[in-house]
């Protein structure tokens, strides 16, 4: 009986080792697969983050340009309005006449009256 028991014990031990080895191998494979998946997800996330960041940077740059253009236009219009107001009050009748005659002379030079 003792001999039988010892034999059985050895067999059980052997089988246990085999099972353990299979389990260990499977676990290692799963860990490796998980690591790969995490790597892929991490790469994708990073890529998506960079893309989004670039998009936002472009949007911000365009917005900045647009706003600067708007401000420039407002300043220009303000300048035009102020100059118009100042000039409008400063021109007397004889200067007006002179400007009209000059305009007509220019029109003639440019053959505006030719048909």
């Amino acid at each position: 009986l003792e001999k039988e028991t010892k034999k059985s014990f050895l067999e059980i031990e052997k089988e246990s080792r085999q099972i353990l080895q299979v389990l260990l191998k499977e676990t290692k494979e799963k860990i490796k697969k998980l690591e790969e998946e995490i790597g892929i997800i991490s790469q994708e996330t990073r890529k998506s983050f960079i893309e989004k960041r670039n998009e936002i940077e472009i949007l911000l740059e365009n917005y900045k340009k647009e706003k600067i253009k708007e401000i420039d236009e407002r300043i220009f219009q303000l300048l035009v309005d102020i100059t118009k107001k100042v000039l409008g009050k400063a021109i007397d009748l004889s200067t007006h006449e002179e400007l009209v005659i000059k305009a007509l002379e220019k029109a003639k030079k440019e053959n505006f009256f030719e048909t």
């Binding site: 220009f76 118009k84 000039l87 021109i91 200067t95 009209v100 007509l104 029109a107 003639k108 505006f112």
Partner: protein, 151 residues
């Protein structure tokens, strides 16, 4: 025709002259005599003298229908005078209008009727429209151009 146009400068002058002509036309068939007799008291000095002159030259006779047609042709001639639309920054006096008209006649060698409108926004100079052409020679336009260049 030249003597008649001496005191004609603007589109309004042409309208007023044509109204006088129409008034004479209305009485042509109800009166007898020469056209100058019929026009007396209706036509203003320049028109009356123009009719008298034409009669002296034998261009109008006693026939009422021909007198009517003579005036009708005169209206057509007035309508065919070249018209220059001008937008100015100020409301011109009669003297300014005459100066502009005289300047154009001297430079172009022909009578041009002025159709003047007023827009202070253009500041000075003029915006011109002539026979379908447009030219903006206003001070406002020049000013905007200069400011843009210096921007």
């Amino acid at each position: 025709m030249n003597s008649l146009l001496e005191r004609i400068f603007t589109k309004e002058d042409i309208i007023s002259l044509k109204e006088d002509i129409s008034k004479i036309q209305k009485v042509i068939f109800s009166k007898s005599g020469t056209l100058s007799e019929k026009a007396k008291g209706i036509a203003k000095k320049e028109l009356f003298e123009f009719i008298l002159e034409a009669e002296k030259k034998g261009e109008i006779d006693f026939n009422s229908q021909e007198q009517f047609e003579f005036l009708e042709n005169l209206k057509i001639k007035l309508d065919s005078l070249p018209l220059l639309k001008m937008t100015l920054a100020f409301s011109p006096t009669q003297s300014t209008i005459e100066k502009i008209s005289q300047f154009l006649e001297n430079k172009l060698g022909k009578k041009i009727i002025l159709d003047i409108s007023y827009n202070p926004e253009i500041l000075g100079g003029a915006i011109l429209e002539y026979r379908g052409k447009y030219l903006n020679l206003s001070l406002a336009k020049n000013l905007e151009k200069s400011l843009k260049i210096n921007e």
